[in-house]
Symmetry: C2
Subunit: 348 residues, 2 copies
Amino acid sequence: MGPMGSTEPMDLDERKAAILRAVVEEYVETAEPVGSQRVAGSRKLGVSSATVRNDMTVLEREGYITQPYTSAGRIPTDLGYRYFVDHFTSEGALRIAQRRAVAEFFESAHRALEDLLHETSQLLSRVTDHTAMVVGPQPEVAQVRGVQLVTLHPGVVLAVAVLSNGAVEKYTLELPDVLDEAQVGAAASALEGLWNGCAFNELCEPPPSGDDAIDRLARAVRGAFGELVAERPMEMLYVGGTSRIVAEHESFATAESATHLLELLEHQVVVVSLVRNLLDQGVNVSIGSENEIEELRDCAIVLAPYRVEGEFAGTVGVLGPTRMDYRRTIGAVAAVSQQLGRLLTRVD
Amino acid sequence: MGPMGSTEPMDLDERKAAILRAVVEEYVETAEPVGSQRVAGSRKLGVSSATVRNDMTVLEREGYITQPYTSAGRIPTDLGYRYFVDHFTSEGALRIAQRRAVAEFFESAHRALEDLLHETSQLLSRVTDHTAMVVGPQPEVAQVRGVQLVTLHPGVVLAVAVLSNGAVEKYTLELPDVLDEAQVGAAASALEGLWNGCAFNELCEPPPSGDDAIDRLARAVRGAFGELVAERPMEMLYVGGTSRIVAEHESFATAESATHLLELLEHQVVVVSLVRNLLDQGVNVSIGSENEIEELRDCAIVLAPYRVEGEFAGTVGVLGPTRMDYRRTIGAVAAVSQQLGRLLTRVD
DNA sequence: CGTTGGCACTCGGTAGAATCGAGTGCTAAC
DNA sequence: GTTAGCACTCGATTCTACCGAGTGCCAACG
């Protein structure tokens, strides 16, 4: 019915862009459909509300904004948010208080990697007022730096592998044989010698040593570590500020959608692969229907990878309603990812 | 106005008890205030609704039930739930499907302790339809069974302690000195010899060895482990099924209360000490206003400790609305705690 | 031709009135 | 002590009227 398609990346003239920007910013702030008067009035574009109305009809026809019902104000569509993100968020804005919170956190941060990432997710959540996600470095790339076997009880041995990235993998083994300290120690040093420097996900088969019990133990250890790699191939995910999801529930359709989101976040595997997919496509912000997952239809995801020693290591990100302050969020995510990378490069 | 107080543990006559029971069970099922007709009708106590009404007035005066507004049906008070729990839940009821789910889970369960506890919380949440909590064994009681030091980079050493309960503690140290492998190894075996068998929370000071760098390292390791104990004195908490909280939100007053609950659950320390306090007082079920924490005013907590080798080890529990099926929940929590203890006794 | 003021129209949101019905308390009869 | 009958209460639901922000359209203007 209208003129031709609305999917090409048509550039808006300056005034329409300004109007779209005003609609987005106003709607993000007030959560109410914004009308032509408010745009014309409180913004410094010197035109009347009638003119704004005319442009708005065009913007609506192009798919950037929509009305929740006939003759109400306009709210941005996902496409509208997309335009906003692509054109008006180049310089990340971050309030001083928040910038300081981030700086302070990384000043004093210190601890085991897991704790650090966990607390980083809480920080990011606090700073953005949204749910935050932190994906840790993938454990597979790490190399073995130490192997230790400890007899917990007779017939029960704990196998521990220390990795080059500071992670520790462990597995409790139940053995058919009861080994003495010397045998366990022999197995441990054999394995350590064999695997030191190897990638944890590609441990080679231990050669026969002559002692059957030791060999069984060694093979059991390799099997256990292999199982760990197989069962937990994914990077660790840390989620902070889940309570924000229900606090933002006003922005979502129903209370059910909040439930579904929480459920989604409990499935680490899904989230991690989602994040990875997005990032692989070079996407940093994914808005509403751009997400393939049904539950995320009203959500936006903002991601930023962090680098350790120049290498891609992991991702920090935020999950919130499409109606979010993108500038602030993008700024915060960028700042945290950068600082986290810096800290890990220093310590790691 | 009425007769004397209602706080003494007055026992109800048989019919009143049956009526109270009916009110609780009906209300838990339908979420609607239950009237005298429904109680008289669908239950097998052969009396008319008028008689039920009379007894209900007494039950209300005694504080077991209340009406949300004048001349509506009755709903249980916290005291009413308490009576129900104390008198009608002796034999834990658990549906076959759920009993089987628990059995299956513990049949095939196997993995690192952390993963096991985490998945146990998810299992318990699935089985009960409520949010589940699992408190792990407290790490302090564990003894050191192995110490390892690994040089990750020059000047950066990872200290690892393997404990008798299968836990592994680690800390990344940045050192002023750059030590070679021999020195690090010497320090490690010195510490291992010194600390083997000691409680992790009471590591003694390493004696001087003659090599200043090694001594600095040893002292740094002790400091780091001490810091770990100090900063993470609590047992680990695993929470599963947080999404249930908002799904149950209908049972709670406002959406805000759900937010507050989620926030509460993010503070491990608070939850762990709450659980510990309750259990110290021998409480297994805490209902509504019995909880001291404001956010839990509409919640009930069902707990069961689990034992490893006969010793108290940790706790599993459930957090849900006061309006929950206590029999089913108590049964499930009991079953899971028992099985978990059994599994850990076997493996650990 | 783009811009503007004017104007009839739309439609969600709110307030008030009417109605419904489950459930109660009370009383009198059994 | 139990029960049937009855007047009454009060949340929930429905309906109506009304308000007002906001639109689309048109005619006038520079």
